[in-house]
Subunit: 149 residues, 2 copies
Amino acid sequence: MNERADRFPVERSEVRAMLTRFGIQPTQQRIDIAHLLFQRPQHVSAEQVLEGVNAAYGHVSKATVYNTLNLFVRYGLINEVLIEPDRTLYDSNTSDHHHVYNMDTGELSDIPAGRLAIQGDLGLPEGTEIEGMEVLVRVRSGHDPAANR
Amino acid sequence: MNERADRFPVERSEVRAMLTRFGIQPTQQRIDIAHLLFQRPQHVSAEQVLEGVNAAYGHVSKATVYNTLNLFVRYGLINEVLIEPDRTLYDSNTSDHHHVYNMDTGELSDIPAGRLAIQGDLGLPEGTEIEGMEVLVRVRSGHDPAANR
DNA sequence: ATGCAACTTAGACTCAGTCTAGACCATTTT
DNA sequence: AAAATGGTCTAGACTGAGTCTAAGTTGCAT
Protein backbone atom coordinates (compact mmCIF):
# COMPACT_ATOMS: atom_id res chain seq x y z
CA MET A 1 0.00 0.00 0.00
CA ASN A 2 1.00 3.55 -0.73
CA GLU A 3 2.36 5.30 2.31
CA ARG A 4 2.38 8.94 3.11
CA ALA A 5 5.62 10.19 4.63
CA ASP A 6 4.59 11.47 8.01
CA ARG A 7 6.19 14.86 7.90
CA PHE A 8 4.49 18.04 8.93
CA PRO A 9 3.54 20.53 7.77
CA VAL A 10 2.84 19.54 4.19
CA GLU A 11 3.17 22.71 2.15
CA ARG A 12 0.37 23.71 -0.13
CA SER A 13 2.46 23.04 -3.21
CA GLU A 14 3.19 19.49 -2.03
CA VAL A 15 -0.41 18.64 -1.26
CA ARG A 16 -1.40 18.50 -4.90
CA ALA A 17 1.43 16.09 -5.71
CA MET A 18 0.59 13.98 -2.70
CA LEU A 19 -3.02 13.53 -3.73
CA THR A 20 -1.98 12.66 -7.25
CA ARG A 21 0.51 10.12 -5.96
CA PHE A 22 -2.32 8.44 -4.08
CA GLY A 23 -4.48 8.33 -7.20
CA ILE A 24 -6.83 11.00 -5.93
CA GLN A 25 -7.87 13.72 -8.33
CA PRO A 26 -6.61 16.95 -6.76
CA THR A 27 -9.59 19.27 -6.82
CA GLN A 28 -9.60 22.63 -5.12
CA GLN A 29 -11.70 21.41 -2.21
CA ARG A 30 -9.62 18.31 -1.62
CA ILE A 31 -6.44 20.35 -1.66
CA ASP A 32 -7.92 22.80 0.84
CA ILE A 33 -9.03 20.03 3.18
CA ALA A 34 -5.77 18.13 2.90
CA HIS A 35 -3.75 21.27 3.44
CA LEU A 36 -5.68 21.97 6.60
CA LEU A 37 -5.31 18.40 7.86
CA PHE A 38 -1.60 18.11 7.18
CA GLN A 39 -0.48 21.37 8.73
CA ARG A 40 0.33 19.28 11.75
CA PRO A 41 -0.58 15.90 13.22
CA GLN A 42 -3.99 16.46 14.75
CA HIS A 43 -7.34 14.97 15.65
CA VAL A 44 -10.25 16.88 14.16
CA SER A 45 -13.96 16.36 13.73
CA ALA A 46 -15.75 16.80 10.42
CA GLU A 47 -17.35 19.93 11.79
CA GLN A 48 -13.98 21.41 12.69
CA VAL A 49 -12.74 20.70 9.18
CA LEU A 50 -15.79 22.38 7.72
CA GLU A 51 -15.31 25.47 9.88
CA GLY A 52 -11.56 25.52 9.39
CA VAL A 53 -11.70 25.32 5.62
CA ASN A 54 -14.44 27.90 5.38
CA ALA A 55 -12.47 30.25 7.60
CA ALA A 56 -9.10 29.89 5.89
CA TYR A 57 -10.03 29.13 2.29
CA GLY A 58 -13.12 29.30 0.09
CA HIS A 59 -16.49 27.79 0.85
CA VAL A 60 -16.85 24.03 1.02
CA SER A 61 -20.10 22.15 1.64
CA LYS A 62 -20.77 19.74 4.43
CA ALA A 63 -21.34 16.90 1.96
CA THR A 64 -17.94 17.47 0.38
CA VAL A 65 -16.20 17.50 3.73
CA TYR A 66 -17.69 14.12 4.63
CA ASN A 67 -17.10 12.70 1.16
CA THR A 68 -13.51 13.85 1.21
CA LEU A 69 -12.72 12.67 4.72
CA ASN A 70 -14.15 9.25 3.93
CA LEU A 71 -12.19 9.21 0.70
CA PHE A 72 -8.97 10.04 2.52
CA VAL A 73 -9.67 7.32 5.06
CA ARG A 74 -10.28 4.77 2.31
CA TYR A 75 -7.00 5.70 0.64
CA GLY A 76 -5.10 5.63 3.90
CA LEU A 77 -4.17 9.31 4.08
CA ILE A 78 -5.86 9.71 7.45
CA ASN A 79 -7.40 7.47 10.11
CA GLU A 80 -10.70 7.40 11.89
CA VAL A 81 -10.55 7.55 15.66
CA LEU A 82 -13.61 6.42 17.63
CA ILE A 83 -13.44 7.54 21.22
CA GLU A 84 -16.23 9.96 21.86
CA PRO A 85 -19.54 8.25 21.21
CA ASP A 86 -21.15 11.18 19.46
CA ARG A 87 -18.67 12.12 16.77
CA THR A 88 -15.88 10.69 14.68
CA LEU A 89 -12.42 12.18 14.84
CA TYR A 90 -9.99 12.09 11.96
CA ASP A 91 -6.30 11.65 12.65
CA SER A 92 -3.85 13.18 10.19
CA ASN A 93 -1.02 11.19 11.74
CA THR A 94 -0.93 7.81 10.03
CA SER A 95 2.37 6.65 11.45
CA ASP A 96 1.91 3.66 13.72
CA HIS A 97 0.86 5.01 17.10
CA HIS A 98 -1.56 4.73 19.98
CA HIS A 99 -3.73 7.16 21.90
CA VAL A 100 -4.09 8.60 25.35
CA TYR A 101 -7.48 10.04 26.12
CA ASN A 102 -7.94 12.31 29.10
CA MET A 103 -11.49 11.66 30.21
CA ASP A 104 -11.59 14.87 32.23
CA THR A 105 -10.28 17.33 29.69
CA GLY A 106 -11.26 15.48 26.53
CA GLU A 107 -7.70 15.90 25.31
CA LEU A 108 -6.38 13.23 22.96
CA SER A 109 -2.66 12.67 22.46
CA ASP A 110 -0.38 10.22 20.73
CA ILE A 111 2.05 7.54 21.79
CA PRO A 112 4.47 6.36 19.10
CA ALA A 113 4.00 2.63 18.60
CA GLY A 114 7.68 2.07 19.24
CA ARG A 115 7.27 3.09 22.84
CA LEU A 116 4.99 0.16 23.57
CA ALA A 117 5.72 -3.53 23.31
CA ILE A 118 2.74 -5.83 23.06
CA GLN A 119 3.31 -9.53 23.32
CA GLY A 120 1.06 -12.49 23.63
CA ASP A 121 -1.18 -14.95 21.93
CA LEU A 122 -4.12 -13.34 20.19
CA GLY A 123 -5.62 -16.72 19.45
CA LEU A 124 -6.89 -15.54 16.10
CA PRO A 125 -9.07 -17.92 14.10
CA GLU A 126 -7.54 -19.60 11.06
CA GLY A 127 -7.53 -17.52 7.93
CA THR A 128 -7.69 -14.14 9.58
CA GLU A 129 -4.92 -11.65 9.26
CA ILE A 130 -4.16 -8.66 11.40
CA GLU A 131 -5.02 -5.34 9.82
CA GLY A 132 -4.03 -3.12 12.70
CA MET A 133 -3.66 -2.91 16.44
CA GLU A 134 -4.60 0.13 18.47
CA VAL A 135 -4.13 0.82 22.13
CA LEU A 136 -6.28 3.36 23.90
CA VAL A 137 -5.20 4.49 27.33
CA ARG A 138 -7.86 6.30 29.31
CA VAL A 139 -6.52 8.66 31.97
CA ARG A 140 -7.97 11.09 34.48
CA SER A 141 -6.41 14.35 35.56
CA GLY A 142 -6.57 13.11 39.12
CA HIS A 143 -7.11 16.06 41.44
CA ASP A 144 -10.89 15.81 41.12
CA PRO A 145 -12.22 12.56 42.52
CA ALA A 146 -15.80 13.83 42.37
CA ALA A 147 -15.84 13.19 38.66
CA ASN A 148 -19.13 14.62 37.52
CA ARG A 149 -18.89 13.27 34.05
CA MET B 1 -15.03 0.41 43.44
CA ASN B 2 -17.68 -2.26 43.63
CA GLU B 3 -16.94 -5.15 41.34
CA ARG B 4 -19.30 -7.53 39.73
CA ALA B 5 -18.17 -11.15 39.80
CA ASP B 6 -17.88 -12.04 36.14
CA ARG B 7 -19.85 -15.20 36.12
CA PHE B 8 -22.49 -16.07 33.57
CA PRO B 9 -25.37 -16.51 33.41
CA VAL B 10 -26.66 -14.44 36.28
CA GLU B 11 -29.95 -15.99 37.28
CA ARG B 12 -33.01 -13.83 37.51
CA SER B 13 -33.15 -14.18 41.28
CA GLU B 14 -29.58 -12.96 41.58
CA VAL B 15 -30.03 -9.94 39.39
CA ARG B 16 -32.13 -8.08 41.93
CA ALA B 17 -29.54 -8.59 44.66
CA MET B 18 -26.78 -7.55 42.32
CA LEU B 19 -28.44 -4.25 41.48
CA THR B 20 -29.09 -3.55 45.14
CA ARG B 21 -25.49 -4.32 45.97
CA PHE B 22 -24.43 -1.70 43.46
CA GLY B 23 -26.79 0.85 44.99
CA ILE B 24 -29.15 0.74 42.04
CA GLN B 25 -32.86 0.62 42.77
CA PRO B 26 -34.03 -2.69 41.29
CA THR B 27 -37.06 -1.77 39.23
CA GLN B 28 -38.81 -4.22 36.94
CA GLN B 29 -37.29 -2.68 33.82
CA ARG B 30 -33.76 -2.62 35.19
CA ILE B 31 -34.04 -6.23 36.27
CA ASP B 32 -35.26 -7.25 32.83
CA ILE B 33 -32.47 -5.40 31.06
CA ALA B 34 -29.80 -6.68 33.44
CA HIS B 35 -31.10 -10.22 33.16
CA LEU B 36 -30.86 -10.02 29.40
CA LEU B 37 -27.35 -8.54 29.48
CA PHE B 38 -25.93 -11.02 31.98
CA GLN B 39 -27.19 -14.20 30.40
CA ARG B 40 -23.77 -14.41 28.85
CA PRO B 41 -20.84 -12.12 28.07
CA GLN B 42 -21.92 -10.27 24.96
CA HIS B 43 -21.73 -7.09 22.92
CA VAL B 44 -25.13 -5.60 22.21
CA SER B 45 -26.50 -2.35 20.86
CA ALA B 46 -29.22 -0.35 22.59
CA GLU B 47 -31.60 -1.35 19.83
CA GLN B 48 -30.87 -5.03 20.40
CA VAL B 49 -31.54 -4.62 24.09
CA LEU B 50 -34.83 -2.90 23.33
CA GLU B 51 -35.90 -5.67 20.98
CA GLY B 52 -34.63 -8.41 23.24
CA VAL B 53 -36.40 -7.16 26.33
CA ASN B 54 -39.63 -6.55 24.48
CA ALA B 55 -39.50 -10.03 23.02
CA ALA B 56 -38.67 -11.91 26.22
CA TYR B 57 -40.26 -9.77 28.93
CA GLY B 58 -42.78 -6.95 29.16
CA HIS B 59 -42.65 -3.71 27.24
CA VAL B 60 -39.83 -1.23 27.89
CA SER B 61 -39.44 2.15 26.28
CA LYS B 62 -36.50 3.36 24.25
CA ALA B 63 -35.79 6.12 26.77
CA THR B 64 -35.59 3.64 29.61
CA VAL B 65 -33.22 1.40 27.69
CA TYR B 66 -30.84 4.29 27.10
CA ASN B 67 -31.21 5.60 30.64
CA THR B 68 -30.58 2.18 32.08
CA LEU B 69 -27.62 1.33 29.89
CA ASN B 70 -25.97 4.64 30.72
CA LEU B 71 -26.71 4.05 34.39
CA PHE B 72 -25.14 0.61 34.25
CA VAL B 73 -22.07 2.06 32.53
CA ARG B 74 -21.76 4.77 35.18
CA TYR B 75 -21.93 2.18 37.94
CA GLY B 76 -19.48 -0.11 36.22
CA LEU B 77 -21.82 -3.03 35.54
CA ILE B 78 -21.16 -2.89 31.83
CA ASN B 79 -18.77 -1.12 29.45
CA GLU B 80 -19.21 0.95 26.36
CA VAL B 81 -17.40 -0.25 23.27
CA LEU B 82 -16.85 2.20 20.42
CA ILE B 83 -15.85 0.47 17.25
CA GLU B 84 -18.55 1.02 14.71
CA PRO B 85 -18.95 4.71 14.05
CA ASP B 86 -22.73 4.67 13.93
CA ARG B 87 -23.73 2.93 17.13
CA THR B 88 -22.51 2.20 20.61
CA LEU B 89 -22.11 -1.36 21.80
CA TYR B 90 -22.46 -2.38 25.42
CA ASP B 91 -20.25 -5.11 26.79
CA SER B 92 -21.61 -7.22 29.64
CA ASN B 93 -18.15 -8.62 30.29
CA THR B 94 -16.37 -6.23 32.63
CA SER B 95 -13.41 -8.44 33.40
CA ASP B 96 -10.20 -6.95 32.07
CA HIS B 97 -10.00 -7.84 28.42
CA HIS B 98 -9.36 -6.61 24.89
CA HIS B 99 -11.17 -6.89 21.59
CA VAL B 100 -10.72 -8.40 18.18
CA TYR B 101 -12.86 -6.85 15.49
CA ASN B 102 -13.31 -8.64 12.19
CA MET B 103 -13.75 -5.83 9.67
CA ASP B 104 -15.23 -8.19 7.10
CA THR B 105 -17.83 -9.96 9.21
CA GLY B 106 -18.37 -7.30 11.85
CA GLU B 107 -17.82 -9.93 14.50
CA LEU B 108 -16.39 -8.74 17.80
CA SER B 109 -14.68 -11.11 20.18
CA ASP B 110 -12.70 -10.94 23.40
CA ILE B 111 -9.11 -11.49 24.43
CA PRO B 112 -8.53 -11.93 28.16
CA ALA B 113 -6.13 -9.25 29.35
CA GLY B 114 -3.86 -11.90 30.81
CA ARG B 115 -3.04 -13.16 27.33
CA LEU B 116 -1.38 -9.89 26.37
CA ALA B 117 1.60 -8.20 27.93
CA ILE B 118 1.99 -4.51 27.28
CA GLN B 119 5.18 -2.83 28.33
CA GLY B 120 6.63 0.56 27.74
CA ASP B 121 6.76 4.15 28.71
CA LEU B 122 3.47 5.93 28.25
CA GLY B 123 5.07 9.26 29.05
CA LEU B 124 1.99 10.43 30.87
CA PRO B 125 1.92 14.02 32.11
CA GLU B 126 2.32 14.59 35.85
CA GLY B 127 -0.84 14.22 37.88
CA THR B 128 -2.66 11.93 35.49
CA GLU B 129 -3.57 8.44 36.46
CA ILE B 130 -4.49 5.54 34.26
CA GLU B 131 -8.15 4.67 34.25
CA GLY B 132 -8.00 1.82 31.77
CA MET B 133 -6.15 0.43 28.82
CA GLU B 134 -7.87 -1.18 25.85
CA VAL B 135 -6.38 -2.91 22.87
CA LEU B 136 -8.35 -3.24 19.68
CA VAL B 137 -7.07 -5.66 17.07
CA ARG B 138 -8.59 -5.23 13.64
CA VAL B 139 -8.53 -8.33 11.47
CA ARG B 140 -9.74 -9.34 8.03
CA SER B 141 -11.08 -12.71 7.03
CA GLY B 142 -8.41 -12.87 4.37
CA HIS B 143 -9.68 -14.83 1.36
CA ASP B 144 -11.19 -11.72 -0.23
CA PRO B 145 -8.53 -9.23 -1.18
CA ALA B 146 -11.03 -7.16 -3.18
CA ALA B 147 -12.41 -5.73 0.02
CA ASN B 148 -15.37 -3.72 -1.12
CA ARG B 149 -15.98 -2.11 2.21
C1' DA C 1 -53.69 6.40 53.47
C1' DT C 2 -50.84 10.18 51.97
C1' DG C 3 -46.95 12.45 50.36
C1' DC C 4 -42.88 12.51 47.89
C1' DA C 5 -39.03 11.26 45.24
C1' DA C 6 -37.56 8.21 41.95
C1' DC C 7 -38.68 5.95 37.82
C1' DT C 8 -40.96 5.21 33.23
C1' DT C 9 -42.97 6.60 29.02
C1' DA C 10 -44.60 8.53 24.32
C1' DG C 11 -43.33 11.38 21.43
C1' DA C 12 -40.93 15.54 20.18
C1' DC C 13 -36.47 16.92 19.33
C1' DT C 14 -31.31 17.24 18.09
C1' DC C 15 -27.53 16.57 15.45
C1' DA C 16 -23.84 13.78 12.99
C1' DG C 17 -23.74 11.78 8.92
C1' DT C 18 -25.90 10.24 4.28
C1' DC C 19 -28.50 10.77 0.13
C1' DT C 20 -30.42 13.01 -3.93
C1' DA C 21 -30.84 15.51 -7.90
C1' DG C 22 -29.16 19.07 -10.26
C1' DA C 23 -25.20 22.30 -11.29
C1' DC C 24 -20.51 22.66 -12.54
C1' DC C 25 -16.22 21.66 -14.89
C1' DA C 26 -12.66 19.55 -17.65
C1' DT C 27 -11.68 16.52 -21.20
C1' DT C 28 -12.80 13.90 -25.27
C1' DT C 29 -15.57 12.95 -29.36
C1' DT C 30 -17.86 14.33 -33.47
C1' DA D 1 -17.32 24.66 -31.93
C1' DA D 2 -20.80 22.02 -30.04
C1' DA D 3 -22.08 18.05 -27.76
C1' DA D 4 -21.26 14.21 -25.00
C1' DT D 5 -18.98 12.06 -21.04
C1' DG D 6 -17.65 11.42 -16.45
C1' DG D 7 -16.22 13.00 -12.28
C1' DT D 8 -16.94 16.43 -8.61
C1' DC D 9 -19.56 19.79 -5.78
C1' DT D 10 -23.55 21.60 -3.51
C1' DA D 11 -28.09 22.86 -1.04
C1' DG D 12 -31.15 20.93 1.21
C1' DA D 13 -33.91 16.90 2.29
C1' DC D 14 -33.49 12.92 4.85
C1' DT D 15 -32.14 9.13 8.40
C1' DG D 16 -31.44 7.22 12.68
C1' DA D 17 -28.96 6.98 17.22
C1' DG D 18 -29.47 9.14 21.20
C1' DT D 19 -31.55 12.93 24.35
C1' DC D 20 -35.10 15.70 26.33
C1' DT D 21 -39.62 16.97 28.12
C1' DA D 22 -43.68 16.86 30.49
C1' DA D 23 -46.95 13.97 32.27
C1' DG D 24 -48.11 9.57 34.37
C1' DT D 25 -46.80 5.63 37.49
C1' DT D 26 -44.49 3.23 41.18
C1' DG D 27 -43.04 2.38 45.52
C1' DC D 28 -41.02 3.62 49.74
C1' DA D 29 -41.49 6.41 54.17
C1' DT D 30 -44.22 8.38 57.42
